[in-house]
């Protein structure tokens, strides 16, 4: 009956605003936390990202030679976001490739060669070996070279385009130095390397020694394997050391960085919304109590303790808190379900529809703060009123 007496004086519209504000604030807050957790989990998950490979070089600069030394390689390997590192060696001799690509078409071009540890080669074919004396050398052609022939050279020279199967049957010849010729066998295509045709390590060493400039092989590119190329620490490391790589491969790290910047902003906005709704809630409670000033004083006058009155008032507020929490959780889950389906359809990533413990604990803490502030205000206001009765 006490609740009926006091809550009869409530202002319905104001109550609706404060309850709605609280729900909106809590929903935004919980969703931001949950999505931040989901996205960072995805971006840091090796099971989703797999092992990525990045070819890295130094920024071209007039002041430095652009080569990696051994200590730099070791330093890179020590980084937590690096699994392994290997140098990419280039030829320091002249190499020319000549091929017949049709009955009346042939082309010849200078061809950069590279060699790298077999562990780092994608599509490593069997028998990718060469020994001194072999007249045939197996090579792995970058897919980008193949594409640039088909969509650039072939179009410009009105030569026929070739398929990967057909090109495997072409027998180009590789001219090393002035008069050494090798038959080339195209053994595979590589999507990982784009700046040189990969040849076996033994072939490169032999010819560099025999036809090269005599300088020790310099390392101007390296390849690293990493559990997650989108790790922001990796991007920072590369940037700090003026290393360059394919920026597309690390752009996910920027997503994380953007998330890191956006997340506190969203949290602050959510906190402001929650704070405002808390203020309207408090104001609503105080207004309700001041509208019921006569009833509360009279209850005190006839013998009700302030504890009993504030408990009866809180009981009614508990219903409102129940409405807030029972509305917030399903709304968050529903929105999460919607966002999850977008991730699934657009990116093929499953972020799940559940809420994490962290989110629930943060929600619980905010809810508890809300409840305690309200409880203290109601109790102190009722106490003042009863004291004067």
């Amino acid at each position: 009956m006490i609740g009926k007496l006091i809550f009869n004086n409530r202002k319905g519209r104001q109550l609706t605003f404060s309850v709605s504000g609280s729900i909106i604030g809590l929903v935004i807050m919980l969703l931001s936390i949950q999505l931040y957790l989901d996205i960072t989990t995805i971006l840091h998950s090796p099971t989703i990202a797999g092992t990525d490979f990045l070819v890295i070089n130094k920024e071209v600069n007039m002041l430095v030679d652009g080569n990696f030394n051994q200590s730099e390689l070791e330093s890179i390997k020590e980084q937590e976001f690096v699994i392994d590192v290997a140098p990419v060696y280039s030829n320091n001799f002249q190499s020319l490739v000549v091929a017949d690509v049709g009955p009346a078409s042939s082309f010849n071009t200078l061809m950069p060669l590279i060699t790298v540890s077999n562990d780092f080669i994608d599509n490593l074919p069997p028998n990718f070996k060469w020994k001194v004396g072999d007249k045939e050398v197996p090579v792995i052609v970058p897919t980008s070279f193949f594409n640039s022939y088909n969509f650039g050279i072939a179009e410009a020279s009105r030569s026929p385009k070739v398929t990967k199967e057909l090109i495997s049957h072409i027998k180009p010849k590789l001219k090393i130095g002035n008069a050494t010729w090798y038959n080339v066998r195209i053994a595979a295509f590589s999507d990982r390397f784009s700046d040189g045709v990969i040849v076996p390590n033994s072939f490169m060493n032999y010819n560099n020694t025999k036809f090269g400039t005599g300088e020790k092989n310099k390392i101007n590119r390296i390849v690293i394997s990493t559990p997650n190329s989108k790790n922001p620490s990796l991007a920072h490391y590369l940037s700090d050391h003026s290393y360059e790589t394919n920026s597309d491969k690390i752009s996910g790290g920027k997503v994380t960085e953007i998330m890191n910047v956006l997340f506190p902003i969203i949290v602050i906005i959510s906190l402001v919304i929650i704070l405002l709704s808390l203020l309207t809630f408090i104001q609503n409670a105080q207004l309700l109590l001041s509208n019921s000033d006569y009833e509360i004083k009279l209850l005190g006058l006839i013998g009700y303790s302030f504890g009993a009155i504030s408990a009866a008032v809180m009981k009614n507020f508990n219903i409102l808190f129940g409405v807030i929490i029972l509305s917030t959780v399903p709304i968050v889950i529903a929105i999460k379900y919607y966002i999850s389906s977008i991730f699934n359809h657009e990116l093929g990533i499953d972020i799940g529809i559940g809420l994490s413990w962290t989110t629930l604990i943060v929600g619980f803490c905010i809810y508890t703060c809300f409840y305690l502030v309200q409880y203290v205000i109601i109790k102190s206001t009722v106490k003042k009123l009863v004291q004067s009765s």
Binding site: N8, L298, I302, G303, S389
Partner: protein
Amino acid sequence: MIIEFNNVIPTPLIDQIHFNKNAWDKKIELNTNKTYLLTSESGKGKSSFISFLYGSRTDYSGEIRLNGKPWNAYSLDERSELRCNSLSYLPQDILLFPQLTLIENLKIKNSLTHSKSEEELKKLISTLGLSAQTNQKAATLSKGQQQRVGLLRALIQPFEFILLDEPFSHLDQSNIEIAIQLIENVCSQNNAGYLISTLGPNHGLSVDETIYL
């Protein structure tokens, strides 16, 4: 229970009262198994005296003690406990919950102690001639009816001493007689005393002491 007034002076009346002629600023002792009539002209502080005694106002100098303990030393919970079981009070301006019905106004008080059954409540309502108004909102009752409801609300709790501030001011003679009869019966059942304030007439009450303000 013994109630002591030690040199109590109401702050609002400090310049208006000749303290040597009345009970203000003196030592008075009230024994709660006795009956008292508090009488004075209008504006001399009868309602203030009763409010101070009930603890609902504190704008006075001096000290009031209940069972030797100063009123201001009682906690809010102790004060509520006293108001539930020891001290009962009908204010001059009655103070009902206007949005509640007559019976609800009694029930909200009775739910503190559950000392009366619903049947007993209805019988008391009937005694004061209010049966027809049982479910009528208090706001729509006449002043005389409201005064009788206020009296019933004060009488349905257990008490040692009841304070009635001009309880008959809106009642006709026959209702006054019924009310006095009821007050004396209930006080007798509770083995309790009373203090009734009046502007002058004693309404046929035979009291142990009269206090002049």
